[in-house]
Amino acid sequence: MITFENVGMRYGMGTEVLRDISFSLDRGSFHFLTGPSGAGKTTLLKLLYLAHRPSRGLVNFFGRDLATLERGALPRLRRRIGVVFQDFRLFDHLTAFENVALPLRIQGAKKAQVADHVEELLSWVGLEDRMHARPATLSGGEKQRVAIARAVINKPDLLVADEPTGNVDPDMSRRLMHLFVELNKIGTTTVVATHDEDLVRMIGAPIMRLDKGELNMIAGGTPLDPEAAA
């Protein structure tokens, strides 16, 4: 569904942050993206959520070559990709409900059309009582669940999460991971960047390991947590 071939990426005139990256993500697959801090995880995810064009190499999204796509075609493509940013990036002046509804609104939906769906999703992530709270009054775990709900409200084909468990306690990390596994089970291709080895072992999914800008694919192990099997 998504293919990278010999992709390189540099910021401005700097050295290449990513070098000769090749991989493909099958529909409905689940991958962890690991590697030490500064290895290029965020950079690779940015390429995956169409925030940057690669400096070189071929990238194919949903059967379309990125190099031949016009700028005007990108918004439609982005709507098929859900993103959980490293630092939530919620709108502080909007309620949890409004933040989650935003991607639907961007597509032109009216409030009445989406209210049920948004409320249902917020309940599913355990925020039925916090729907009309603003991010400032939410805990880190709650904010992350709002961010996840916003990322998947569109039923994206690809879900990308950048260290979604970075700011929460281990118990909340497990709960959030279960959300990703559940979403993956209904067919969403998922890539989760993390440096939490325990979580990776718990799920046992295949790993994309980045080190100094180079990528190695590692097959998944046996999940330690049977109910979390991807």
């Binding site: 925030a51 940057h52 064009r53 990709i81 509804a101 935003l102 991607p103 961007i106």
Partner: protein, 294 residues
Amino acid sequence: MSMWGRTLQFLPKQNQREGLLPWVIGVMLFLCALSLTSALALGRGLERWSAGLTSNLSVQIVVDDPMVRKAQTEDALRLLRATPGVAEASVMADADVIALLSPWLGEIPTDTGLPLPTLIEVKLTAPDAVNIKGLGERLMATASGARLDDHQAWMTQILNLAAVVRLLLAGIVVMVVLCTVAIVIFGCRAGLATHRESIEIMHLMGAEDRTISQAFDERYLAHGLKGGLFGVLMAGLTLYILIRLADDMGQGLIQASLPAASSLAWLALLPVLSGVVTMLTARITVRRALLDLM
């Protein structure tokens, strides 16, 4: 204005840095409106004044014999009054002539019997209503002692000065207007800088450029209108008070250089202009920021 309105308004209602923008625009438009009106009024005043100067002539009857002088004066008056383009011609009273001469001759009593020149004041209907040279020749033919003085020598200097002053005023107006536009643009940019993050998130969620910039169009049009309205209202109020004060004081310099209240209607255009400039600046800045993103 909410995110469910006609435009998707994803910007917060209140923003500290942006909250200042309407005030900055207001103050700039206040200054702009005041300098525009005063420059225009001063310019018009100067124009009227110099037109008044050029439509005044004087005729001197230089004859020693009082009887002949009187006869020539009558002839000259008759000719002048029959000339098309002459609005008025009258003999200046002795007292006025003395007042006119006193700077050169000092105080002179009226009854010295000293021969005073006879002066005829001539008002034209328009500055160039009459061929001055031809009129002078015809006057000489009718009354040999008549000398036409069109004040050319010193008036040229005064008119040049007036032209320079008007040019200066125009320059000041252009500078104030450009400065206002520049400050509005800088103010917009400063406000927009605080929204970079929001713009990027909307962009990454798949919002079209148009969707994003519409939110700013709406917001910044309101800022510009609000600021413009405030500035122009304050300027209008200031001018109104000045005009009232000048009316109470009667004739005078202030009154002469103030615009008529009825000529201020065009001020109403300024808020609209400031709204449009603000909106376009926001739109261009946002679109440019979006093009920097992928």
